[in-house]
Amino acid sequence: MGGVGVAEVEGRPLLEREWIESARRGDASAFEELVRHYQEIAFRTAYLVIGDADEARDAAQDGFVRAHAALGRFREGAEFRPWLLRIVANAARNRRRSASRRADLALRAFHDAVSGDAAPSPEVLLLADERRRELLAAINGLRVDDRLVIALRWFLDLSEEEMAAVLACPRGTVKSRLSRATARLREAIGEASDV
């Protein structure tokens, strides 16, 4: 699976502006390109907000359909990705029914994490795997808001502006929320231990 961002692709911003302009003029294939390039980050954002893959699929669809309808309001020169993620996150929140259905984040299969010729010994790998599992279990055990802010920052690598859009809060609040969530995670894993 490819990366969730697009900023790393050279020339993409220019293409993106062209797609947006063409889509605003009613070019369906241009909007399709926008969906193609942002579908993964949109789906994953919705999944983190909603905690259920089927609901996240529908929420991401809702988000793209709403974004299509609202393209006329998109401010020229603004960043498209935070604008889209705000719409997708709102769609996900509208679909969120119950926190009890929220699936825990999971790790990839163990063997997927091993690569390269000079692979460490099985014991070292097992230990590293165990440490990853402990950390993820601690994240899964956090309150919903804390887990979301940590996952957006570290697992989706969202910018501060994008996090503010998804969390529907001012940019200045993002740092304090992340800081508080990180502090609670430290507490959960035991800061005094090897962290």
């Binding site: 699976m1 009613g26 369906a28 909007f31 399709e32 969906v35 193609r36 579908q39 993964e40 949109a42 789906f43 994953r44 999944y47 893959a53 996240a56 699929r57 529908d58 991401a60 669809q61 809702d62 793209f64 359909v65 709403r66 299509h68 309808a69 609202a70 006329g72 309001r73 984040l105 999971a106 790790l107 990839r108 997927d112 994490a113 440490r131 990853r132 950390l135 993820l136 940590i150 996952a151 920052r153 570290w154 697992f155 690598d157 910018s159 501060e160 740092k175 990180t182 995670l185 430290r186 894993i189 090897d194 962290v195």
Partner: protein, 253 residues
């Protein structure tokens, strides 16, 4: 932007990011395209929207969501988006879903609809004819081996498949399971709505009278044209392009 300095916990979080598994991204390009194709013309949202209009728009979005949740229907066929819950057999030449081998004449007498056969001269007569019953009204599959312009699938030796069955059977009887990477494009056959399913893996199967899944996939990842005409659902599978599939479809006689 965030501070780039990382303590040990942050370093562990950064490392963990590569190992976190997210569910597979669904085929949103196709799903959103379908939603937009069904949606009414875009409404400018820069001006105030009345409560009535807002409610109507919300209802439209809800209905579109329901349509997607239950798949896209074509007569007796449903396009289902999602991962396979069973393992299709990739090299199947003749699957149990095809029914029993028979002749064209016998097949004509075994179904409750008018059986149609492609009239393209390069196809000629089908090499194999299969009749399945159930589903209600019967289902006929015509198999063609190598033909000019229709390269064969190396695993099965099949060049083209044409299947037809009654469109008024239960919507859950025949299903086409569509996974990520598959493109579903709207098309037309004789002016009737059709779907062109291409790319990625897609499987064709039906549920028998006991509700068991019977795989009738013949060629994995083979582009397929599906449409309904005169109360019959058709699929043409294996044509190298939509244009070729449509040519086969519109030659049915």
């Amino acid at each position: 932007m965030f501070d780039d300095r990382r303590d040990r916990l942050e370093a562990r979080l950064a490392e963990l990011a590569a190992e976190v598994e997210f569910p597979a991204t669904p085929p949103l390009v196709a799903l959103v395209g379908e939603r937009l194709a069904q949606a009414p013309p875009r409404i400018g949202l820069g001006r105030p929207v009345s409560r009535g209009l807002a409610l109507a728009m919300a209802a439209t979005v809800l209905l579109a969501g329901i349509a997607v949740a239950f798949g896209i229907g074509v007569g007796g066929l449903r396009l289902v988006f999602g991962p396979a819950s069973f393992s299709p057999i990739p090299s199947m030449v003749v699957g149990p879903g095809l029914g029993a081998p028979t002749s064209l004449d016998a097949a004509r007498g075994g179904v409750t609809f008018t059986l149609r056969v492609p009239g393209l001269p390069e196809l000629g007569q089908p090499d194999r004819v299969y009749l399945a019953d159930p589903p209600a009204g019967g289902a006929v599959t015509l198999l063609y081996g190598e033909r000019s312009g229709f390269p064969t699938d190396p695993a099965s030796g099949i060049g083209l498949i044409v299947t037809q069955f009654r469109a008024d059977i239960g919507p859950d009887v025949f299903e086409k399971l569509i996974e990520g990477g598959v493109r579903v494009m709207p098309a037309r056959v004789h002016g009737e709505p059709a779907w062109w399913v291409a790319g990625g893996d897609h499987f064709f199967f039906y549920r028998d009278a006991q509700g068991h899944i019977v795989d009738s996939t013949l060629r994995l990842a083979s582009p397929t044209l599906i449409w309904e005409e005169g109360g019959v659902t058709y699929r043409v599978e294996g044509a190298p392009s939509l244009a070729e599939a449509a040519r086969v479809a519109e030659s049915l006689d």
